[in-house]
């Protein structure tokens, strides 16, 4: 049941621009806190670059650890945003209105954070230019396009450019609102940013078409990005446990699972912090909860198949990996936590409408999912590498160092920091979408009952 409230344009402006035009203390406190964590990560990265990659726990045969796990995790988070926004726009789902901007912005910042990880992981970031940038510099040798490590940057660059432009185009009308509500130098900045938007029928028409067209273009890119990330693993000939033909769809659906959960987390925080109860309502969490049940169950099906194919094939590296993941300490503990948090605790809870409509419960279950999904990536990468050699005397393990832990913590702080800064400059809920929603919402009388209805323009 919809819980829509009737709002005037002036009130929508006032409510949704609160984050930009007002300066609450909690915002400064939060920025200060995440800024400190971020600073710890920056110092750790600087220390690692100075001292060398030896200060991490990475060693033969586990050459990929926390950094690559976190890279895959943040690429996954970045998938929710545009996926939710694009699919909801294409299907003209009415409940998209408060969700789209936050989801798109989360995509951009999560992807930027993800892209930092391989750079940090190299240990010598300046050399990445030689490995990934398509130019021969002074050596006469171009990058190797046959390597999956070149496919990644091309996919991420396309996705990041596309999603950033998607956010910018949808921001234009709201930047015009900010231009009209500010004075002085800030007014001039918004005047430039909104490109002189006036709100003519043609501009609005193109804005609508742009939303649909860009959604249709970004969706195939979204599928390709995590597919390509999965191929970093699936086409690596040296790690037998990663050879799985279902890795691409398994990674994509896993990304959607963690990403949609991250959007739920963000929506709950937005509702609590900016008190946007009129805009982010239990019906939105209900809809996201229903979507999550479908997505998570599909993901679980792929996970089950991946394990089943591994065991059923009776290949010794696969069996060694599964035995390690499921029965050997501490992996067994992590495996149980992963299964419980990624599926067995949240999904049965989401079956109950009361849970889906409880913002607190949705917030905590979405956090649980992302703990589980982070562990999922960790359990794919580290045990796979630890057992990549056929000979047991070449098997090794991995213990993350404090430097890696600080850098991972700082990645979460970075996303939070960027989101907080964004919220101070741009509205996190699209104003024009809310106003359009108000125009199209009507109340129909059916017999003695008044039913909320939404008019859809063809």
């Amino acid at each position: 049941m919809q819980q829509r409230v009737s709002l005037e344009d002036r009130q929508i402006n006032r409510d949704l621009l609160r984050g930009v035009l007002e300066h609450p203390l909690w915002w400064f406190a939060l920025v200060g806190f995440v800024g400190l964590v971020l600073l710890a990560g920056v110092i750790s990265t600087g220390y690692m670059i100075t001292k060398g990659i030896g200060v991490t726990g990475l060693n033969r045969p586990v050459m990929w650890g926390f950094f690559i796990t976190n890279f895959v995790f943040w690429v996954g988070i970045s998938h929710a945003g545009v996926m939710i926004s694009a699919i909801l726009r294409l299907t003209q789902a009415e409940w998209r209105r408060p969700v789209t901007r936050a989801a798109e912005v989360l995509t951009v910042f999560a992807l930027m954070t993800a892209a930092l990880h391989p750079v940090i992981h190299t240990g010598r970031p300046w050399r990445l230019l030689y490995w990934a940038f398509p130019y021969d510099f002074s050596r006469g040798i171009f990058v190797n396009v046959r390597s999956p490590l070149i496919w990644d940057p091309s996919a991420i660059f396309t996705y990041l450019t596309g999603s950033s432009l998607f956010v910018f185009v949808a921001l234009l009308p709201d930047l015009a609102v900010l231009r009209d509500r500010t004075t002085g130098i800030v007014h001039h900045v918004y005047s430039v940013l909104c490109l002189g938007w006036r709100g003519t029928p043609k501009q609005w028409k193109l804005q609508t078409v742009a939303g649909i067209l860009l959604s249709a273009l970004i969706l195939p890119v979204f599928v390709s990005v995590h597919s390509i990330v999965s191929w970093d693993f699936a086409v690596a000939t040296s790690v037998e446990a990663w050879h799985s033909t279902i890795f691409a769809p398994y990674f994509v659906i896993g990304a959607v699972h963690s990403g949609v959960s991250a959007v739920v987390t963000m929506m709950a925080l937005m509702r609590w912090l900016w008190k946007w109860d009129k805009y982010i309502r239990p019906e939105h969490f209900d809809a996201l909860g229903r979507l999550l049940i479908v997505v998570s169950t599909t993901w679980f099906f792929f996970f089950f198949l991946e394990v089943l194919f591994g065991i059923y094939g009776q290949e010794s590296p696969e069996i060694a990996l599964r035995e390690m993941q499921i029965f050997q300490w501490p992996w067994s503990m992590l495996f149980i936590i992963f299964l419980l948090t990624a599926y067995f605790i949240p999904v049965p809870l989401w079956l109950f409408p009361k849970v889906r409509r409880s913002i607190t419960l949705m917030f905590w279950t979405s956090i649980l999912v992302n703990i589980g999904m982070w562990l999922e990536r960790f359990l794919i990468i580290v045990p796979g590498l630890a057992r990549k050699q056929p000979l047991t005397f070449s098997w090794g393990t991995y213990h993350p160092s404090i430097i890696e832990i600080l850098i991972v913590a700082a990645s979460f702080a970075l996303v939070a920091f960027l989101l907080l800064i964004f919220s101070k400059v741009f509205p996190l809920i699209p104003l024009f979408e809310q106003k359009e929603g108000q125009l199209f919402a009507k109340e129909l009388r059916v017999g003695r009952k008044k039913v909320p209805a939404v008019i859809r323009e063809e």
Binding site: A155, T158, T161, P201, L213, E457
Partner: protein, 169 residues
């Protein structure tokens, strides 16, 4: 004769639509009239003329350009210095296809965004005749015409219920 613009401000869509009818009845052409609003009203709400656009051509042109650049990058760079790695052919189709796909999509997206901005006639260094109340829910009708016709339009807008008339250059 010098052309001038005026802006009539209205508080609701019905009055605005009636004002547009009145202006058309007084002989004003579609190209002399424009609507400014703070929300995307359904097409034709005010009986306005909707100029055509060519946005759908932009992604196609962009995709073709992106594909061409991607082929040049993948094939050209590998042929420029042919080093065999991993026993794969110099022009490995599956690897090239991935980068060509991304290049095609990037070209399509970039051209689409360029198309949106171009077709929206942005950026506009000067907003022109405008009122801040438009982003608060008011609707504006802009009439751009000869001096004598603008004076007549002002009267028509007032009679149709404009709450304020603003004059511009």
């Amino acid at each position: 004769m010098a052309r001038r613009s005026i802006l009539g401000l209205f508080s609701d869509p019905d009055t605005t639509a009636n004002a547009m009818d009145a202006l058309r009845g007084a002989g004003y052409k579609d190209w002399e009239l424009d609507i400014l609003s703070g929300a995307p009203y359904p097409e034709g709400t005010f009986g306005e003329h909707m100029p055509s656009h060519h946005l759908f051509k932009f992604p196609l042109i962009g995709a073709a350009c992106g594909l061409a650049v991607a082929i040049l990058l993948t094939a050209g760079t590998q042929l420029a210095y042919p080093v065999v790695t991993g026993g794969k052919p110099i022009l490995a189709i599956p690897a090239m296809a991935i980068i060509c796909y991304e290049g095609t999509m990037l070209g399509a997206i970039l051209f689409t965004v360029f198309g949106i901005i171009f077709e929206s006639r942005l950026p506009r260094p000067r907003v022109g005749i405008y009122d801040k109340r438009i982003t608060e829910g008011y609707i504006g009708i802009v009439v751009t015409s000869d001096e004598t016709r603008v004076v007549q339009a002002e009267k028509t807008l007032k009679m149709a219920g404009a709450i304020e008339i603003k004059s511009g250059a």
